[in-house]
Structures are given as C-alpha cells and as structure tokens.
Symmetry: D2
Subunit: 318 residues, 4 copies
C-alpha cells in the first residue's frame, strides 16, 4: 500500500514522533510511505516526498514538525479538494494519515468522502477535541506553561507582586486549568465559565489578609487579554500588576515522554486502521484506552469542562 | 477531624504536591492536619507536627518529600503497630493518609485494621501497583530517563558507539519500556520477559548492516546489571560498549505537571474518603478516572505487562 | 563583627547563592550575620533577622531572593539614610554587603559615606555595570532567553514565519546580543546602535532569496516594543510576523552553575573586604579575575558595547 | 582559500556551534569550506565533504558533533600523517581547523609541521588545557553535573543519606570542583590533591553533629571509583552510602549559551588566523580575552588547580 502522512494546523510537540511512527510501522507492514509537506497545501501542490526508515532518525525528540505545516483555504473549496484527490490518485496513494486539530480532522474526512482511506490523529496543544481524552502536544504545553509559572513565582515572591499570565486557549480553558493546578496559581480565568473579576479581587484580598503578598492569576486568551485584566484590577484595587503573555512559547520544545508515547501509539493505531481499509476515523483515547471513532460523530460531540478539577484548583491555592 | 499524612518508602517526585493537597483540602474541610516525619517510624516515635496552609507554600514544585521518608521494620511487628496506634489515639488523630508504594499501602491497611481510618495514595516511580494505571512520580521518572537517553544519544552518535543504560525496576519493566518507547531505544530488556541476548545481538547486527553505527540498549535492574550485559555482549560480538547506571537520578527533580496534577487529585480523593469514614482504601486511576479500591483486593491483583507497547517499541526502533 | 546582607533592585538568579556565601563565610570568620528584608527599606524599618548556617541551607539552587527585594525612595532622602544608619548603629552592625544593580551600588556608597563599612556585589541580569565583566544573573538570563528562542524556532520553522522577540535591556543590548549570538537570531536590535529597520528588511529579503522562510528578530526593550517593530515591518514588507515579549520570565529560574559560582566567589571577596575594613568598594571581575574597585570610580565608567560580537552575530546568521 | 574543519577526541557540547561558525565565517570570507568526518581518520580515508551555509542550519543548539569524532592511532604514525597531508594537497585544502582536546591539538601541530596552515580550538569538557581559561563544553558539563546533584539532593534529603557521585576528570578536578561549588557538595575529592578520607569522615561527623543528616561527596574519576570510596567509608564509619557514576551523561545535551558563544567566537578567531596564514596556533581565552598562542608553548604549560575556589567550597558547605 502507498501511504502518505501530513501535519496540519498549529504545530504541536510530538508531531515528529507521530510521523516517525507512521513511517516505521508503515514500512514494517510493507507500505511505501510518503510525506506531504506543509499540510493539505502540499497535496494540492504535489509537494510529496518518499520517506525511508532513516528519514525519521533522530526526530522523536524534536519540537515542531519537519514536514512543516500551514493553513490552506484552497483545500476547503471543491476545486482544491478535487485537485488534491487527483494528485493522490495519480501517485496511487490510497491512504492518508492527517495529524492536527479540529480543522485538520475535517480535512481528513473530506479526503475520505472523496474516496481516500484517510484517518486522523489528534495533534494540538489545546486538548480541545471532545472525542479524545488526550491530544498530542498538550502534556508538553502544560509542562512548558507550569515551568514558566514556576519561574515567574520566583520573581513574584521576591518582589511581592501580582502577575497576570496569559495562556493559549481561545475556546478552551484546558491549558490554563492544568497549568494552574500544576503550578498552584491563585486564580484561573477560563472561557467556559463567567468572567468574574470580583472573585479574583476577593481572593487577592483574602490572600493578602493571610500575609500572602504575591499572587499568580492565569487567564486563557479566550477570556480577555492579560493587559485588559491588569487594567481592570488596577481600577478596582489600585494594585499594580505585571503581565506575561506566554504565546507561542507554549508550542515549542522537545516533547515530553508522555507526548512521545502518545504520538507513537496513536500513529500505530492509525496505521492499523488504514491497513484494514478503515477510513473516516479519528484515533482517540477513551477511558484511558486507545481506540477510534468516526470523525463525523467525533466532531458532533460537545466539549466539556472539568469543573471538579477547577474547584480543586481553587481549594488548593487558598 | 484530626488527620495525619505521611510519606513512606522510596521518595517519588510529586509527594510534596500530594502532602500539600491533603493539608489544604483537609483544612478547607475544617480538619486539623498533622504531618508525620520519616514515614511510619514517625508515628512510633511520635514525631508528628501540625501543618498549616502556609506549611505547604512553595512545595508543589519540589522533588523529594519535605516530611522525609524511611523504611521502618519495627512498624511491621505487632508491638510497633500497637505503639503507633496508641500514639495516634493519644493525639486523637482519627485518620491517616499514607503516600507510598507497595509496602506503604500494606502499612495503611495495618493501621486500618487497628481501627484508624487510613487510606493510601500510590506514590512510587515504579508504576508497579496493578490496581492503578498511574502512580505519583512515574511520569517524572520516565521524563528524567528519556532526557538522559537523549543526551547519551548525542555522544553515541558522535562516536558511533553502543550504550547500555540501566534503569530502575526490580520486578517491573515499566520505566524501561516507557523510557525506551519515548527515547527510541534499540533494545529494551525487562524482567517480565525472558532475557534474550541473541535478539539484542541480532538487532545490533541488522542495525549495523543498515548503516546505523550506534545503539542504545536499556536494561531494567531486575534483569541484570548493565555491566554484566556489556561483558556478555563483548564476549559474543567483540564490540566495546559504554555503560550508564541512572540509579537514584531517576528519583529526583521537580515533578512534571502530570505528576503534580495526579498527586493533587489523588490527595483530594483520599481526603474525601477519610472524611466519609472510609478506611482501608487505595486511591487509584482506572479507565482514566479517579476512583478507589479496597487495599486488600488491590494487593491481591497481578501486575500485567503492556506487551503491545513493547512490540511497538521494537517496530519503531528498527 | 556584626555584618548584614541585603538584596535590592530587580531580583536576579544567584542572589540566594550570594547571600548563602556571605552568611557562611561570615560565620566561618566569627561574624554574626544578619539578613535585611526587602532591600534598603528593611534597614529603615529595622526588618532585620539573624542568619545561621542552616538559614541558607538548600537555597543555592533557588531563583529570586529569599530576603526579598524592593525599591525604596525614602532611602534616597537624607532623613531615610539617617534613620537607616541609626538603626544599624543601634544594633551595632558595622558592615553591610549590598547585592544589586546600579541603584543598589549607589545605596552601598551612601551607607559607606555615612560611616558604615559597606561593600557592593553586582547582581543584575542586565550585565550593565561597566566596571565588571560579569554580573550575577546575566548568565542565567541569557540561557533562559536562548532556550526560549530555541523553542520559538521550532514553531517558526514549522510554519515558516518570522518572529519578533522582545528581550530585557532598557539601556543595554547585552542580553539581546548574547542571546542572539547563542541562538543564531537573524537580526538583533540594541539601544547602543542606530535603529535600522532597512537592514532588518534587507536581511529578511536576502534570507528569503536563499530559501530561508523563517527568521527570528530580537529587540531589546530600550529600542522599541516588539509590537511596534512588527507594525513597521508589516507596513514595509507586508509580511505578517508573530510577537513574543519574554519579560519577567528572564528574571526567574534556578541559577546556572556559572552564576552560582560567580555569586559565591563575589560574596567571598565582599566578606574579605569588609573584614579588612574596606568599605565603598564594588566587587568586580576584570580581565577574568576577581578584584574590587572604588564604587565612585566604578559608577563614573562608561559602558561599552561589544561591537565585535555584534558583527560576528550578523556574519553567523546569514 | 580551501579550508577544512574537523572535530576529534571526546565529543563536547558546543562543537557543532564551532563548526557552524567556521563554515559561515569562512564562506563570508570567500573560502570554500569542507568538513572532515570522524576526526583525523577522515583525512586519511579522504572522508571529506563540502559544507554550505545551509549545512550548518539548525545545529547551534545540538549536542555532540554532526561531523562525528573518533580516536585515530594511524594518524600518529609518519605514514598516516603523510597520507593525510597528501590527501589535503590533492584536494588543494590549504588550511585545517581542528576542534578537540589535548591530543587533537597535537594533531593540528603535526599537520602544521607538515606544511598545512592548521589551527586548533580547545574543545573538551575537562577544561584541562592550561593555555586557555575556558574550553568548549566545560560550562555545559558543569551545568549538567550540578543539575544532577540538585536532583540527588532531593533524595538524599528525603532519606537522610550520604551519596557519593563520581564525575569525569582523569587528571583534572576542574569539573568536580566547579560542580561541587555550584551544587554545594559537602566534600570534593580531586586528583590534584592528596586523597584524604579522614577529612571526608570528619566533615561527615561534624555535619551530623550539627543535625545535618545527608551529605553529597564528589569524586573525580582520577582519584578513585565512587564504589571504592563507598566501601572505604563503610569500613570506617559503618555508614551506608549510595553511589552514582555520572559518566557519559556529562558529555551530552544542548550546549549552554556560554558554550555556544565561546564556540562561535573561538571559531571566528581560528578563521582569522588561517586567513592570515598563521598556522600552529591554539585559540585561547586569557585574562578574559580571546587570543591565540603557539601550540608548542601551549602544550608545554603546566596546569594549575584553583586552590582558592577549593578552599571556598569547603567553607561554604560546612
């Protein structure tokens, strides 16, 4: 079987480990494996290269994605999709494994509906795909974020200051919640819950009355910019705060062991799927086990927010 | 309620995060919380201190355990146990939360059978408690190990050498398997499987015939010492190898985000258990969810080895 | 001799190592050592605590400063200074060792002129004290910055984007230059040189014509905000860029080996100075050797910019 | 000018940064640059490849050496040297820059005496080249070692144990001294000083009498094996200790900012030397400044041990 692999959307640490596993497990099963460069754009532009065992040597520990990634509007048009499928057919590539987030998973479904055995692997630091308990890159991102907060705390304590740290998460507070629980942040603002600055102020006050003179407030970017929060706090409490926007720092870095293992195992499942001729599937972790779900049903699921963990974070940072 | 917490057995990164969560959630629920120093020995010697909210400030990110730990033979005798229980009663401590491995969990059960509401939290880098999918410290240990292997690979590649790395695991290959999968080790020797040096040699040969001139062989300490493996390889292949024994390096270091969160949540479950008067329980993760099991049934379970992951590690390191 | 130590100004990693060395070397030489909390404010407020050998156990590896730090306007007034000196006299503290930047060194001189044997240790991440080749914290800061740039490069390469990274340095490009040389940044903008956006554009163009599709531009905060630079680049080249402001992340973290050794040795020199009754001195590294200079002459020196290193950074990032 | 670069001897973090700088500065100066693989063996075997600007993209942050390294006995024979020089002449390579330790520097001198414009850059983690204050890789190695000791201390404190840590250094205690000063080790055993186990025991006793129940003893491999030291301590004090041998872990890892800058600047100096036709030179740091010395005089210098730093380490770890 001829099998292609691509990474799409925002890059996530562990994507290289997933590509490596697709290539090696594919070749182990007598596939010819190809790499598509820069996501779906590479199919349209026929930017496709053969990958051997050695092509993925020494990449498991690297951040980013050596196949590169891009957003591609053209692929979303009927013409773009047709051209992509024509290119795959001409090269006799029967199966495509797509690694990426929400939009990338939709792209895999489009290829599948066009007759390609396409499967998707959830790779996004946001952990916002409801059908799976973990996505590749999230564990690395929360370690990067909590290590950054550990550093900020050194300075916050030394100067007895309040810091407001803006983390990624347009629609999801998953990173902010996990990083906040891991780093002991005093307040966490997430898009899934009402934005309650009163409570932040109350917690600042009660901390101060206990003798705690520094504080870390996390805010997911979907809630507000950290600068806005700082301005509002200044107005209410007349307290100066410092702002840090972690931004793209959260995307990079060598993947954690967890993400490398997750990527390797999800890629193995994906290869099994396409070898069995099963397209239109998303690899997932459910109840702690590797499994797969129809992409259509996966994308219909509502995301849920772990309110228990959120309440615990509050109790533990009193 | 008066509630005590202790850490026992080998130290594991995340134990401090667990103690912090017991203290804060306990106080939040109007408990008086005490810390026992140096494990069960501290109960016998009445080395018990009150812990406040501030006692656990700035410990979530620290390795080791500030309550310290020790092995205690006396506690295993009827006299030792009786003395421990008498001390707890005199102080009116009704509940004890024990954080540690196999032996520590047994100790919690002994207290429970003596009338104390004792619950256990699995804290050991070995991940060898069959009743739970994760134990506190394992994630940090495999990150430490795979980061070390990443460094060793720099030198192995530069000099085209074979390295044999000995990892912890007397009865369990869990660390070796996870670190090997994460770091792309060429061979992994674990106590759960027959010790097959022939295959190691075959893999070395086949790698060399593909032009691969370096190799990393992992060996769990329960299989053999890395020095022994090196001597045997030398005999068979006349190839010189280099040996690294990671040893206690795997125990230390700031816990990962995963271990901090796991520790916090398990501790929260444990406090809920003792508040509800439920002793003799082990907090566990099963099917990816927080739950608890009777210690007696937990200890009766057989450990299993993830043979799928092991086979995958082989396929991916060809 | 009664000897006090304080940290002042912005915190810098290694300050704890310096305080530890003052305490231990002081006690070794039969001094009684005191810690002043929150910089010069602590002298004025008599917030002074005795420090023993054990007070500085387990602090050498910690970021920030456990004595805390603050800016203190009152100390700059004759009344404030008089009160500070009166407090020291009442406690019979003859000598004070001040760890901090520019303003803190001036404060040490003020104490010295008031009759106290005061010496200063340069502790600032900015490395902007012309009389010494190194200051405590700089090495850690440039490692933090270059590690961050390594991460950003993962994403820049994966997406073929240009990133603009703002680093600390109001009047000094030392951090930007060192981090840029270490991380291979394509352009570095420093306050010591004219702000030449034309050249940045030329380098972007020439890189692109060589097939290089990503780029990292560093800007010291004293030049312009990274957002401004991004807006100007957009105007000229119509290219979208991403912005990261490292900010206070550069202050925190466990000090590097270099900073711990530098801090320990500088502190040792400072204790020798005050034991010998020599006040008004700044400990320094000159020509690679530990020495000391009169604070008055130190503060008169003009800072110089390492133009050779700057030119080299350009050549190496073609 | 045709210019070749090679890395030889033990690998050291920063060698890649040095090769990158030779290549880019060489090309900037209109040289044609070649890379020799696996040290001097590659000249003899004519394993020489052209290097372009892009050949050294994305290597500055990598440990090890992508040109690989090896020891080569044949090069030390007149026949081997003659063959090497013949190969260089045939390719019209006039200049060779050698990056490595003691033996590699001698090799550069041999090439120079054979008529090649050869210069050497000190690259070794041991910092044992007396003519220069720093060698490439040392700063990374002491950071790796002190970070490892930080981790070991977590466990040592938790269990109140004594650890004996064996560090690299056959003839030089430089790594042990620097890591010991940086990590606050209680005792440091180096080959430059008499091996005095009595003092180690005294320090253990005095620590214990102060209530300090854990201790870290560093031993450079040239003094004794850590296992031997452990056995002797056991005999004298009946105290059990734990042993860690850091070994090749000290060689690997991403170079620190210091080592990347040092490597880049030394390489720049080396290119300047060979462009000026000056062979037989070693690039060095003296009095904190970049300079160069005749290899013959450099190799004649006696190494000295920093006894001041050693005494300070003792005072600070009481």
């Amino acid at each position: 079987m001829k099998l292609a692999v691509l990474t799409s959307g925002g890059d996530a640490p562990g994507m290289n480990a997933a590509v490596r596993a697709v290539v090696r497990k594919g070749i182990y099963n007598d596939c010819q494996v190809f790499g598509v460069r820069e996501g779906f754009r590479g199919i349209i532009d026929d930017d496709i290269i053969p990958l051997q065992l050695g092509s993925v040597a020494d990449v498991i520990q690297r951040g980013g994605t050596f196949l590169r990634t891009a957003r591609c509007e053209e692929f979303k048009t009927p013409q773009g999709l047709a051209r992509a499928i024509a290119n795959l057919r001409r090269r006799e590539i029967e199966a495509v494994i797509v690694i990426g987030g929400d939009g990338s998973i939709r792209g895999a479904q489009a290829l599948y509906e066009g007759g390609i055995t396409a499967a998707a692997i959830p790779g996004t630091i946001d952990n916002d795909i409801p059908a799976t308990e973990c996505t590749i890159g999230f564990d690395t991102a929360i370690n990067t974020a909590s290590a950054a907060i550990d550093k900020i705390r050194d300075t916050a304590t030394s100067h007895q200051r309040t810091f407001i740290v803006e983390l990624m998460g347009r629609h999801s507070g998953a990173i902010a919640l996990a990083a906040g629980l891991a780093a002991g942040a005093e307040s966490i603002l997430v898009p899934e819950l009402p934005y309650d600055l009163d409570e932040v102020c109350r917690r600042l006050e009660s901390g101060r009355s206990r003798g705690k003179l520094h504080s870390i407030i996390l805010v997911a970017e979907g809630v507000a910019s950290a600068y806005e929060v700082a301005a509002q706090l200044k107005k209410r409490t007349n307290q100066d705060t410092r702002v840090i926007v972690l931004g793209h720092l959260q995307r990079g870095g060598s993947p954690t062991a967890f993400d490398r293992i997750l990527a390797s195992r999800m890629a193995s499942e994906a290869v099994d799927l396409v070898l069995a001729g099963k397209g239109g599937k998303l690899v997932a972790v459910q109840n702690g086990r590797y499994t797969n779900v129809d992409i259509t049903s996966a994308l219909a699921q509502q995301s849920s927010f772990d309110i228990e963990a959120f309440k615990l974070a509050k109790i533990l940072s009193i």
